[in-house]
Amino acid sequence: MHWLEQDSDNRNDRTEARGSGSDQRVGGPPDVRRERDMSISFQLNGRPTTVAGDPARSLLDVLRRDLRLTGTKQGCDHEGECGACTVLLDGVAVRSCLTPVAKAAGRDVVTIEGLGQSGALHPIQEAFVELGAVQCGYCAPGMVLTAKALLDREPAPPRRQILEALAGNLCRCTGYLRIVEAVELAAARLRAEATPGSSHPRAPVSELGAPQRWVVGGDATRVDSVDKVTGRAQYVEDLRMSGILHARVVRSPHHHARLVALDVTRALDLEGVVRAMTAADIPGENGLGDYSRDEPILTPLNGTCKMQGAPVALVVAASPEWAQAGVEAIEAEYEILPHIFGIEEALAEDAVSIYPEGNILTTEAEAHGDLEEALDRSDVVLETRYHTTWQEHATLERETLLGYFDEKDRLTVVGGTHQPHWQRRYIAAALKLDTERVRVIMPPTGGSFGGRQDPWPFVATALATYGARAPVRLTYTRSESFEASPKRHPYRVRYRVGATADGCLTGIKVRVDANTGGYDGHGQYIANYALTASGGPYQYRAVDAHAQTVYTNGPKAGQFRGFGSPQSVFALESTLDELAERLGEDPLEFRRKNAIGQASTSFLGYPVAESLGYQEVLDSIRPRYRSLLEEAASFNAGSSSGGLRKGVGFSGMWYRFGKSGTLRIEAHAELSQDGGFVVYCSAPDYGQGTNTTMAQMAAEALGVPRGRVRVVNADTARTPDSHIQGASRATYFVGGAVCRATHVLREEILGAAAEMLDRAPIDLTLAEDRVLASPSDATEGVSGRVHAEGAETSVSLVEVAREFDRIGKSRKTRGVFDLSPLFPEDTRPEYIPLFVTGAQVAEVIVDTQTGEVVVPRVVAAHDVGRVINPLDARGQIEGAVVMGIGTALMEEYVPGASTGFGDYYLPTAMSMPEIDVTLVEVASFEGPYGAKGLGEAAIVPSAPAIINAISRAIGARIRSLPATPERVLSHLTADS
C-alpha cells in the first residue's frame, strides 16, 4: 500500500532456488536424512524453493513469515478449524496451519499466489469476481484453492459434492451460495461447455468494455475483488514495516475481580521485551470516551475487572513470541469477587453489585394509549417470555491493527472500523494529543458485522505505538478474540399482547432486558433499538414499552448486525406467531391485517418518515409461502416421512436504519490532474462493499464509467468525518453526500468546459475522459462568435483540470446530505422513524427422534428502496440468511468456556439452504436514487422464521436460542 514503506529485504532473497536433484532435499533419495535445522526443498507455485528452520513449524507460518506470501490467511489459532489457510499439496487441499513444513519436502505446493498472477485470472477466480462470491475476501484464497482441487479431480461435480468439498472452509459473509455458484460456473467454463458471457444468466458487467453510463441498478463486480481473489489485497496482518514490534495483552482470568497487585519488572527483564505498560502509563484519559463510558483502557491498580479478559497491561516486544513471554512474566494478583452472568440474577434484590450506581446502564420507555383498556377489550391476551444468547461476530479476520508514525509524524493506526474519526478522538483523549496529531486509516478488512466498532484495540495499539515510539502491530489470537471482543447482547423479552377474535392487534406491553456484560461498550444505545424493534411494523391502539440495558459479569456486548433489533424481533415475531396460532389465523395474513401503512401511526406513536414497503413485501412473498405450506402438509401426511416433520415459518420485521451519529454527512469529489475522478468519503468497507457502491453512485452522477472513479475511503487525514457507520446508513447518507458532491463537480466541469468551448453547458456532456459538445447545428457560440467548421467540439478533462488550476478554481467540490431540516432539533423525535422492512419464510425438517433440524429452503423478500447493486444486495441477504441459521440453530457463546471456531459453531456450506431472494423496490423519499439501507435488516427476520418453522413442525414453542438438537428434543418430549 502506498502509505506504508516496504520492508527492505526482498522476498526473493529468501527463496533460495535449488535444483530439484539437490541432495539437500528431505524426502529425496532414500539414504538422505537431515540433521538438526535441516533445509527443506519443494516446488512453490512452480518454483524450486528451499527453507530452513524447525521442520515442524507450520507451512502457514513459513509461507507468511519467511516467504512473505501473505495471500494464505490465518483465521484460527493453528487449529484447523477455519480453512482460511488452505493450500494445495500435490494438488490436494490441506490446512497449512496443521501441516509441518517438512511435509512439503519434495512436493508441489500451490498457494493463491500461484494462480492468476500473470494478468489473466484463473477461471475459478474469474467466476468468484463475476458472481459476487467475494465480500470481505478473507476466506477467498482458501475457497478458490479448495475449489481448484475439486475441479481438477472432478470436472463436473454435482452441487452436493461442491458443498461437501467446501464444508471445511468457513465464510462469515456470503452465505456460500455465490461461492457455490461460482464454482459451478467455473466448472462449466473449464469444461468448455460454456464460454464467458455466453448463455449463463449472469453475464458480467464489463468494466472494460464500452463505456457503460448507467451504473446504478446493474449487477456490478466489486472494485476490490480481483485483489482479494488473487491474495494481493493487503489486510493489516499482511502489511510489512521495518522495525515492527508486537503487542500482546495481559488480561484478567477472572469474571469479577479486584486487581490488587501488578508487577511488570520480570517482563521488562526479558531481552526481547521493549515496554510493559499499565494504567499508570496512560498520559490522558484512561477510558474509551463516550463510546463506552465505564470501560478503562487498562484496569488501574485496585480497580475492578468486570469480566474475564478485562485488560490490565500491555507488552510490546520484538516478536509475538517475546510479547507472549512478557505477558506470562507479568505478575498480577486479584481478589476474586462473586460474579453473575444472567439478567435475572443482576436484577435480583440482593444482586452482586457490579457498579456502585446499580446494575442498570440505561433505560428507554415509550407509552401511548390506554393499555389496560385495550387489553380488556381483547378476545385473546397472550403473555410470553423469550431469551436469546451471546453471539460472536466471528469474522474470519481476527482483530489486527498496526500503529506507526506517518510522514508527518502523526500517530497513525491502521485498522478496520466503522468510525475512523471517532477512533481518532478516543486515541487523542487517551494520549492527550491534539486530534490533528492522530490519524486512523481503514485498510481492506476481513468482515465486521459491528464487531470492529470496539475502540479498545485502536486505543491500545495507539498507546503501544506511542509508548514504544516504533511501529507496533496488535493481533488478537482467535481465543483472545472470543474472550475479549464484544458480543451480541443476550435479551430477555416479555410480552403481553392482545387481539380481537377477528385478528386485530389491540395493545402491546413489552419489557426488554439486554445483557451488556461487564462494560457499556455502546450498550447504552441498545435499549433504544431494542425498544423500537419490539413493536414492529404493526398497528396497536395502545403501547407500553420499556427496555433497559443491564450489567452482568458476562463478556462486554456491543454492536452486532441489526443493532439490537434481531433479538427483539425474534421475540415479537414468535409472539405474533403464537397469537396467530391461538386465533386460528394464517401467520402471514395476520401480519398483513395489522401492518401499518405509509400514513398510519406506528408503534412509536407517530408515522414513519420514509417510504414503507411492508405491505408490498408481504404480498410479494405470499405465493411462495403458500406453496411451501402445501408441500409441508403433504410431506407430513405422507407415510414415508418416518420421524421427520416439515415445518414452514414466517417472520416479518422492520428495522430502523440510518440514525447513528449525525444527520448531516459530507463527502468530497475531485477532478484530478490526470482527468480522473476521486471521491473522498468515510463509508468504511469491511467487506459489505461500500468502496464499490460509492464508486457506482459517483459514476452515475457524473455520467462516466465506474472505472474512471477512484474512491478514497475512511482515512481521517483525507476524508470528511461521517461519525459512525452503523445502522446500514452508508448508502443512504454517505451515498447521498457522494451524489451531491459529484453532481456539483459535474456542473462545475461543464461550466468551465462551456467557457473553453464557447458553448452553453446544456449542450455539453461528460464522456469518459472528455467533455463533448453535442453535434452542433448551431455554429454560433454563446459569446456570439461564429465557429468555423471543424472547430473544437470537445475538450479533454486533463485540459479542464488545467483550466481550473489556471483560473485558481478548486478542483474539489463538497456535497452534503442533511436530514436535519426534516427533523428540526426542537421537535426531533426520540426515535428517528426511518425504517426498512422485510419478511422471510423458512422451511425446516425436524427429526423428531433426535431433535436435529435442517433448513432446506429460505425465501426472503426485502424492501431495499431502489437497488444500487442487485448482485451485492442478494449477497447481503444470502449472507444474512445463513448467519440467521447460525443464530437459530447453532451459535451460542458460553462465557468462560468458548474459545474459538472449534466450540462455537458457525454454519458451514453444508448448512446452506436454497435461498430465494426478492428485492422489493419501493423507492425512498430522500435517499440517493431512491436507495435505503439493507446490510443489517436482512439478518433480522432469519432466525424467527426458522424458529417459527420448528415450533410449527413440532407443535411446541421454542422460546430460547439456539434451537440445538437437545433443546428441540426437550420440547418434543416435554409436550408429548
Binding site: D37, M38, P100, G168, Q324, V894, Y905, P965, E966
Partner: protein
C-alpha cells in the same frame, strides 16, 4: 529464552518400517511417530507434547495401500457379491492411509458402509485429506469416528517395535481418554485389518446373498466440522439361510453376530455388550432392535459437555441411534428385505 529461539528439531522420513523402529529406538523416547499431524501439530503447539524428533511414516512405501484379499481375486470385487459371502475377504489398511482414501475406495464404498461414512464424518474434507485412520486410533479419543468404527469392525492393528511385530485387537488399545497402549515414541502401527463380521472362514458356497452389513449413525451440532454429540457404528451378520434363496426373508434368519460401538459414552470407544448378547441368536425384528437400543442406553455412561450435549440428551438418543443403525445394517445384510 526458549520462547524466541527456534527449537531445533529433527524430521525424518524413514523408508521402511524397520528403519522407523530403529530411529525411534535410537532416540530413546525423544522421537515420535507422525502421521497426518492433525492431532499432533495442535498438541505440539499447545505444549502438550514436545518431541525433539518426528518420524514421519507417511512415505514408507506400501503404507498408503488398502489391500482387499479375497478368494476370488480373479473377479472384480463387486461383480462378485456371492464370493464375498462365500469366501470372506479381509481388508488391510496401511497406516498412512487417509480418511479421504478410505471414503473414496470402491470396494469399501460398496461393502463397508460404516467405515466409509465414518471416514466422511471426520472434520471436513481438508482434515480427511491429511488425517490417518491409524493416527485416529492412537489418539484414543472416546468419540473418535475412526476408533469407534474400528471397534465395531473388530479390527486389529499390526504393531511393530524393537521386540517384533504382532496383531492386536483395536479394542484392547484404549487405556483411557487419550491414552493408548501404543507408544508412538517406540512403536508404530503399520496396518489395520478386518474381515466381514461373523466370518471365521468356513462357509458353504450355496449361500448366494451377503448376510452381513454395517451402518453408521452420528449426531453433531452441525453437518460438518463438528465433533460428534454421539456416534454409533454397528456390524451384523445373520445365520445361513435355511431354505432356498427366493424364500429368504429377514424373519428367516437369526442374528449370528452383532457389534455395537458408541462414542462418547465412556472413557474409550465402547461396545454395548448387553445389547449385543441380547440380540445374538434372535430374529432381527423391530421389537428386538428397539429393545437392544434401550439396553445400550442402560449400559452407556455418557457425560455432559458444555458445547455438545448433556448426559440426559445423549441417553435419550442412544436408543434411536442404535436402532437406526441396526435397522440399516440388517437391511444391508438382507438387501431384498425392506
Amino acid at each position: 529464552m526458549a520462547k524466541s529461539t527456534t527449537l531445533s528439531r529433527e524430521y525424518l522420513y524413514p523408508t521402511s518400517v524397520e528403519e522407523a523402529v530403529g530411529l525411534l529406538a535410537a532416540r530413546q523416547g525423544g522421537a515420535r511417530v507422525i502421521g497426518g499431524g492433525t492431532d499432533l501439530m495442535p498438541d505440539i503447539r499447545r505444549g502438550k507434547l514436545a518431541p525433539g524428533c518426528l518420524v514421519d511414516i507417511t512415505r514408507i512405501p506400501g503404507l498408503d495401500r488398502i489391500d482387499v484379499a479375497q478368494a476370488c481375486e480373479a473377479k472384480p470385487a463387486c461383480e462378485a457379491k456371492p464370493a464375498c459371502e462365500a469366501r470372506p475377504w479381509s481388508v488391510t489398511v496401511g497406516a498412512a492411509v487417509t480418511f479421504t482414501s478410505l471414503r473414496n475406495h470402491t470396494f469399501l464404498k460398496q461393502h463397508v458402509h460404516a467405515l466409509v461414512e465414518a471416514a466422511a464424518s471426520v472434520g471436513g474434507p481438508p482434515i480427511q485429506n491429511a488425517a490417518t485412520w491409524a493416527g485416529n486410533i492412537v489418539q484414543a479419543m472416546p468419540a473418535a469416528d475412526g476408533a469407534v468404527v474400528a471397534v465395531a469392525l473388530d479390527a486389529e492393528v499390526h504393531i511393530v517395535d524393537e521386540d517384533g511385530a504382532r496383531w492386536r485387537p483395536v479394542e484392547s488399545l484404549f487405556e483411557g481418554p487419550g491414552i493408548s497402549a501404543v507408544d508412538p515414541t517406540r512403536q508404530l502401527i503399520t496396518a489395520i485389518r478386518f474381515s466381514p463380521p461373523g466370518f471365521g472362514g468356513s462357509s458353504s458356497a450355496s449361500e448366494a446373498k451377503p448376510a452381513w452389513g454395517t451402518a453408521w449413525r452420528r449426531v453433531g451440532r452441525r453437518p460438518a466440522l463438528a465433533l460428534p454429540i454421539l456416534n454409533c457404528a454397528v456390524a451384523v451378520s445373520l445365520e445361513e439361510g435355511l431354505s432356498g434363496r427366493s424364500e429368504l426373508s429377514r424373519e428367516g434368519r437369526s442374528i449370528k453376530r452383532v457389534a455395537i460401538a458408541l462414542g462418547p459414552v465412556g472413557p474409550r470407544p465402547e461396545r454395548m455388550r448387553e445389547a449385543e448378547s441380547f440380540l445374538t441368536g434372535r430374529m432381527p425384528t423391530e421389537e428386538a432392535i428397539a429393545r437392544a437400543g434401550e439396553l445400550a442406553a442402560g449400559e452407556a455412561k455418557p457425560r455432559s459437555s458444555t458445547f455438545r450435549a448433556s448426559r440426559e440428551y445423549r441417553l435419550e438418543i442412544i436408543p434411536v441411534l442404535v436402532a437406526q443403525a441396526l435397522s440399516a445394517a440388517f437391511a444391508r445384510a438382507e438387501p431384498t428385505v425392506g
